[in-house]
Each structure stands twice: as C-alpha cells, then as structure tokens.
Symmetry: C2
Subunit: 333 residues, 2 copies
C-alpha cells in the first residue's frame, strides 16, 4: 500500500517507544532479507522492502504488544515475520495478477522474471517462519500458520471468483477477509499473545484487526477505480482489466438494468473490453452511487474496528490503533 501523502502524519503519531520498535523491525527486515549466497534475493528484497511501505501490519503487532506493557524483544521478531509474510504474498500476487506496478515502481516480476518472484516469495515466507520460531510465543506460531493457510485459500477462491458475475457481497467479503483481513487480525493478535494478554483481550485484538483489514481491502478496491495513478502507486483500472469481482462491480451489477447487465456480462464475464469501457463503468458507478456506497462500507468496518477497542486498556497505543483505523479511510481521497 502507499500512504505517501499521509506518511508524515503517520510518523508523527508514533510514540518514541514505537518509533524505536519500528526502526528495529526495519533493521531486522534488512538483515534477514539479505542472502549470503544469492545477490538476486538481496536485489528483489531491497526493491520490495526498501520502498516506502508504511509497515501497517507490523505497527498493529507492536502497538498491541505495547498496549499490554510488553518489555521484551520478541514483538520485533513477530512484527518482522508478519511483514515477511505480507511481502511474500505481494510477490506471489504480482505473478498471479501479472501486474506491472506496485507502490509506484515496476513490480519485481517485470524487472526480473516470474521465477524470481515465486522463489524470493518462498524465501520470504521461510524467513517469516524462522523469525516466528525464534520468538518465545508458541501460540503465535499456530496463529500465523493458520493465517497463512487462510490467505492462500482465499487467494485461490479469488481467482475462481474472478470473471464470475454471480459473486455477491457475502462472497466478496469472505474473500476480502480471507486474503487481507486475516493477516491484520493475526498481526494484532500475536502482539497481545507475546505480551501475555488475557484470552478475551487477544480475541478483541484479533477482531479489531479483522474489521480494520476489511476496511483496508474495501478502500484498496475502491481506489482501483477512484484513485489517480500517481498517488495510488499502481495503475488505476487494473482490477477492471483483470475482470475482478471487487465490491464496486458487485454493487453495480446487482443494481444494473438489462442494458447495464449486458455491459457487465461483456466486459467481466466474456472479457471483451474496448476503448471507453472503463470510463463507461465509472459512469454506471456514478449513476448508482456505487463508489459512495463502497466508501460507506469501508467507513462502517473502520468504525466497527474502533468500537472493538473499547474492550482494551485505555492507553496511548490504543489511541494509535484508533487513529490508524481513521487513517486508512483517508488514503489518496
């Protein structure tokens, strides 16, 4: 993701404690992404991990651990592990989507090749695994292992659902939660686990992360239609060209009249896209208020995330979590 325009305010939100935690995570990512033997890995890693990701998932882990006064170092290991899992899925997504831009730079698979993206992704996933094993938090291993399986399952579900106009909002949400919210949820939960929070508290953190991540994914899908290429850092319209059944299309299709249904059938199911189709899709969204409804859905999940925080200790890291839930709604808008 790209929060360039909000990057400054994000940094200013962090306590000095969390700033130094985040520096430690970045240091660990740099150190562990390097491969003694293989220069190629170092290059792909620098390309992916070095270019302005805002480390939202690690921040959830760090803030959750600090919320329960954790004063060890294992939260750094877990936060870095979470970011490695995220980086691995980005690399594999690029192969799957054949996307050309990520965070405003060319993706690794075009700079090198699909082979490197697949294998360096595997390497990052293994690195995540090594880091988790080093942390003294056995339950966090199960949480992150389960999350990894759920993410992969949802990604397969997504490619099966693509181009399928029968995908409804329930199915869309199942995929969004599986592929995206699961890792935010696990990231927040393991922060509580490593800090020995009570089970009802780690469950609350997990629920917060789930709602947060759902809002995040809806905003991501919204911005693929709404954002400007420059500020979003990826090509607007990629999802349309990939014929993905993201929330705007799901909503517009369910509100469509006969002529509009014919349009969606042609561009999404049959994949016959012509010049002007993307602009026509935007017009249909405008006619039905689709993008506004999509944004409202993101707001609802963000609000639900913040409500979950009521059950947690009222301390500075909790305020940060609430602010992050606001921040994701203001991305490039």
């Amino acid at each position: 993701m790209n929060l360039t325009q909000t990057g400054m305010s994000l940094t200013s939100m962090l306590s000095s404690e969390l700033k130094s935690d985040l520096d430690a995570v970045n240091g660990m990512l740099r150190e562990r992404a390097a491969s003694e033997h293989v220069n190629r890995i170092r290059k792909v890693a620098a390309h992916l991990l070095g270019n302005g990701g805002k480390r939202l998932r690690p921040l959830l882990t760090l803030a959750s651990a600090r919320l329960f006064d954790y004063n060890g170092q294992d939260h750094i290991l877990l936060a870095a592990a979470v970011e490695f899992i995220h980086a691995a899925t980005l690399l594999h997504d690029d192969v799957v989507d054949e996307s050309e831009k990520r965070r405003g730079k060319l993706t690794a698979n075009l700079l090198w090749n699909n082979q490197s993206s697949v294998l360096v992704g595997d390497f990052f996933f293994a690195r995540a695994f090594q880091l988790m094993v080093r942390a003294s938090a056995p339950r966090s291993l199960a949480i992150l292992a389960d999350a990894s399986a759920t993410i992969a399952e949802a990604e397969v579900m997504q490619i099966v659902a693509a181009q399928n106009l029968e995908t409804d909002e329930a199915r869309y949400l199942q995929i969004a939660k599986g592929k995206t919210a699961t890792l935010f949820s696990a990231a927040a939960e393991v922060g509580g686990v490593v800090a020995s929070a009570y089970e009802h508290e780690t469950e609350t953190l997990a629920a917060f992360g789930k709602c947060f991540g759902t809002s995040f994914q809806i905003m991501d899908d919204l911005l693929d239609y709404k954002g400007a290429t420059k500020s979003l850092g990826k090509n607007v319209g990629d999802d349309f060209r990939d014929r993905k059944m993201t929330l705007p299309v799901v909503k517009a299709f369910s509100a469509a009249d006969a002529a509009e249904r014919k349009f969606w059938l042609r561009v999404i199911k049959e994949g016959e896209q012509r010049d002007g189709d993307f602009e026509h899709a935007l017009e249909l969204f405008k006619r039905h208020g689709t993008l506004e409804q999509t944004y409202e859905e993101a707001v609802r999940w963000s609000n639900e995330a913040k409500e979950r925080l009521d059950g947690l200790p009222s301390k500075q890291p909790r305020e940060l979590l609430a602010k992050l839930a606001d921040l994701i709604l203001s991305r490039a808008s």
Copy 2:
C-alpha cells in the same frame, strides 16, 4: 520422482509398522490437502499427491523415528509436513521451469494455470507449517524452517546459474545440496528429534539424509539425459532445453575441446538450439564417458550415505535406510 518399476519392491521392504505409519501419512495428506471452501485446491492436490509419489522423504522421517523406538504419533505429523513442503516446491518448480510433465502426467500449471500452481503451493507450505506446529517437537520447527529458507535460496541460485557455463562441480553440488538434499536431511533429522535421539545421532541422521539427497539429485539429473520418457515420467531433455548446468553438462564442458566448447556456448549460453543438438550432446557425453562418471558420482554419495548409518542402532529401520540408498541408484536404469 517416479519409482514405478521399483514400487513393488519398495512396499515389500517395509515392516508392518512402517507400512501402517505410511498409510497414516497418506491419510493425513489427503485430509489436510482438502479445502473446505475451495474445490480448486482439492483438485490440484488430488492431482499431485494422489499419483504414485513414493513418499521417500516421509519414509526417512518415519524410519528415523522408529529407529529410536518412538511410539507416539507426532512423527506422522512431521512426515506429512515434509511431504507438503516437497509438494509445494514441486508446484513452484513447475511454474519456474514451465515444465509440461511431472510424474508422467501433465503438470498442474498447464492443466489449470500458473496462478493455481503458485497459490496452491503456498497453501501446501502453510499446511506443512500447521502440521509442524501441532507436533510436540520444537527443535523440528527450527530445522524445517531453516531447510525451507535454504531450499528457496538454492532455487534462486539455480536460476542465476542456469545458462552460465562457468558453473563448476562445486557450484553444482552446492545447488543440488541446497535445493534437494536439504529436505532429505531435515526429514531424517526430525525423525530422530521427535524420538528424542541424542544430538550426535540426529546429526548422523542429518548427514545421512544430506548424502542420500545429493545422490538422488545427481541420479535425477542423469536420468534427464539417460532415461526413456515413459519410464522417467517427465520429458527427457528438459534440462537441456532449459539450458540447465546439471552435472553431465558441467563435466562435458570441462572436458571439451575447442569445437565442443563452441557447441556448448551456442546451446547453453546463447540458447540457440537446433534439431539434432540434443543427440549431439549425447554423443559428446559418450565420447568423454560423462554419463558413466555422473553415475559413479551418484554411487559415491549413496555409499557415503550408507557409511553414515554405522553410527546408528543396528535395527530393522536402519536396514531400510540402507536399502533406500541402494534403491535410488536403480531408478529407471
């Protein structure tokens, strides 16, 4: 791999105890490969895990555990985890190699698409991770996490080395050990670990697996030139077409005269391959005795594997390990 012709003898080698262990592993693979939500995963899994793999790696885990009188059930979890890691690397290799046949069937990436191969591979890797976490053998987690990182590193090393005629035998062995022998080594080691063997014993098991796997990889590379398509279950000549620097080419290039060097430069480095080139490569191998030397190298590693067994309890599972080290030399020969 395919040991169809030796499959019967492999089964007859197993004690009833190991036969029932292996059945349990197969049952667990079937159960855990299924996905409640995603039919596509079940199909790819059935395609890959159901078709006659001989489960060599799980057998190393099971035999190693039984060698130290292990009588729990966690060796089943670890053996299944090892096979899932192997299956994940096969799926990702198919994308990387763009290979068309695996075990005599069309590969998953051609039957479905690259997307499914990448994502189901990720799902298998996550499944492996879940199984390991369930086993009560913390040290095995570190062993398998380290193995996973080493494998991915070596795979990247391999694509960087491909087409590079400067690859020498030392580099070839480094790659073969990294990408293949590492998992055999870890498979044997975790069997000892779960059975609470002494450290010098688990080290011996790891060393056995490393030599065993090195022999296995050399035989694999030999058979890509020597085997008949039908018995090997993959297309002979794939490595040649992919311009891989496997041991036969490394040896033939180092023995080449000026004209032969020109040939290798053209077909491997420059990739200009014409009709009859593969046959000419086979002629050059004949001229220099390359395939015989390659086979002898595999025999040396197999013998070294068997020598390592001297340090282990003299029981039936040890005999099985020795027989397996013989068996890999008789593949399709």
